[in-house]
Symmetry: C2
Subunit: 361 residues, 2 copies
Amino acid sequence: MRKNFNFSAGPAVLPEEVLLQAQKEMLDWNGTGVSIMELGHRGSEFKTIVEESEANLRELMNIPKNYRVLFISGGATHQFSMVPLNLYSAKKEADYIETGVWSKKAAAEAKHFGEVNVAAEVIKENGLFTVPPQSKWSLNPNADYVHYTPNETVEGIEFQWVPQTGKVPLVADMTSFILSRPVDVNQFGIIYAGAQKNMGQAGISVVIIRDDLIKDPIPGTPILYSYQITAEHHSLYNTPPTYSWYILNLVLRWMKQNGGVKKFAERNERRAMKLYQIIDKSKGFYLNTVHPDYRSWMNVVFNLETPELTQLFLDEAKKIGLKYLKGHRLVGGVRASLYNAMPDEGVNQLAEFMEEFAKRY
Amino acid sequence: MRKNFNFSAGPAVLPEEVLLQAQKEMLDWNGTGVSIMELGHRGSEFKTIVEESEANLRELMNIPKNYRVLFISGGATHQFSMVPLNLYSAKKEADYIETGVWSKKAAAEAKHFGEVNVAAEVIKENGLFTVPPQSKWSLNPNADYVHYTPNETVEGIEFQWVPQTGKVPLVADMTSFILSRPVDVNQFGIIYAGAQKNMGQAGISVVIIRDDLIKDPIPGTPILYSYQITAEHHSLYNTPPTYSWYILNLVLRWMKQNGGVKKFAERNERRAMKLYQIIDKSKGFYLNTVHPDYRSWMNVVFNLETPELTQLFLDEAKKIGLKYLKGHRLVGGVRASLYNAMPDEGVNQLAEFMEEFAKRY
């Protein structure tokens, strides 16, 4: 096993088994005599990856037949543009729920193409960040869609429930949420996610879209930003990021071999709660300011009393192989990202270190 | 050395040294204890790749200081949209030179955003495809830019000269041309290229753009399609395709270690001519229909008398390890892509096989 544990928020840790397989196959993939990186994307050989990856994701997420699975170059930021370009109707009205850095960025980009109504925002109550209940949201019943971000990677704010938007399609940026717990895909119009947190490496995204939402985009939409063109060409209109796609498939296979989403969800909850308990028992030595109902399983964010103490924590952690724990540049502090590929041993070592460090200072 | 030679037009062969290094570093890049795939893109560690790759490309291509080098997610098809979105002025007029499948696709996409004047087209003269001299082109002196494709990967049609467009910026899709021979960057407004032919693996492109062409794009341009935003953020506005970027840098390093562009150009010309000579001496057994002045160094395209004979050629070649020689689905026949990473031994074996096969049938 590797000596380091990588708590980076993304690009993030990958399963060691996946890396070992990629390493082994680097110069000869599946008896082709060539690397998967060198393989044409239109041949029968690469097709096996195209098909298996979709089948694996469908199985893991139990994706209904009336949803298409698209593999698209780039990450969530591409989707910030693609969603409005493809979902705005003539009236161009959308609701956005702003709960952190990423949902705000998504809303800001949509404003370039149409109207954005911020239907709800994160609030601070008794010193804790929380999201108002849906009954207090100002949802527009005629909106083209409602967009939200189930897990905010920067702030560590995560929904434990799914908004109910009736006939208005619900769009979710699941980049740091997908495959971390079961979801009922039927509740969503579009689910999108960059791969580099829970599904693989950077360079590729997954878009799960309900059939009826695939239609002509706004005129002047770049060809690769059309879900319709992408769907018609089975995600192969142009040369896709083949190696990222291959790694994505290896991760999905690994998840299937290791019990599937439900199993990972149990583990994810248990591991996050372990760290939150240490934080709560530390009597303010570690401080997390997210309401318990919205604490993230994937990104456990906390502060120490001073920037100097935070730096000392990060330095000492690094020395014992607990790496990339630094919080996002916008908020500082510490962020422990506990994606599926993080071994239990990493979380255990971090927990021990947190307790031991708190005792010392 | 590997037993197979990969003549795929792209994604294409990579240097064995590059693959071996990637393999070696798969689980521990540069002493970090993590894979490069798992490494955050904003850290000091990944920054070394960002900086080295730009420095390497600047050195290899002798890129002047008044040009920016951008690394952008996706391939040339993204640039088909980005070029017009960023270069069209209020009048929205551009000249396109149509010499094959790819330049036509570029022109078709530009039409979604403004006016396209096809200033010149490939023609057939005495049974051979050729490009009219520039004196016969209908260039618009007030065009926002002139776009051309120095090497058409599908048809194997390559310019041996650079159009002179005066004050009108010249834009070149160099996807299957870049680094195959020296170019004077000063003659271009924009050079763009997907990496997966001569520079690495799929998922990343390089855009070399003259300073004064970086400006506000057309309103409604998606944020990641703005050269300005990309340049301001040093190609790190969002999470880039980090692993593709890393492989790209390894290929650039390898080119420097192996003599640079001039050295590769000499080799590329010699190798292509070797195959064209066999074709020409075959008395019609192999048929290439491109005028000698426009024959591609990178993609040697030819036909055999019947589809059956072509298939037999491909099957027998494959048996002795000469793989992925099948022509593009739109034109059929045989296509031998001889990118920089193709070992001489591969070309020699193909040449021998072609001579031997022609004798037998």
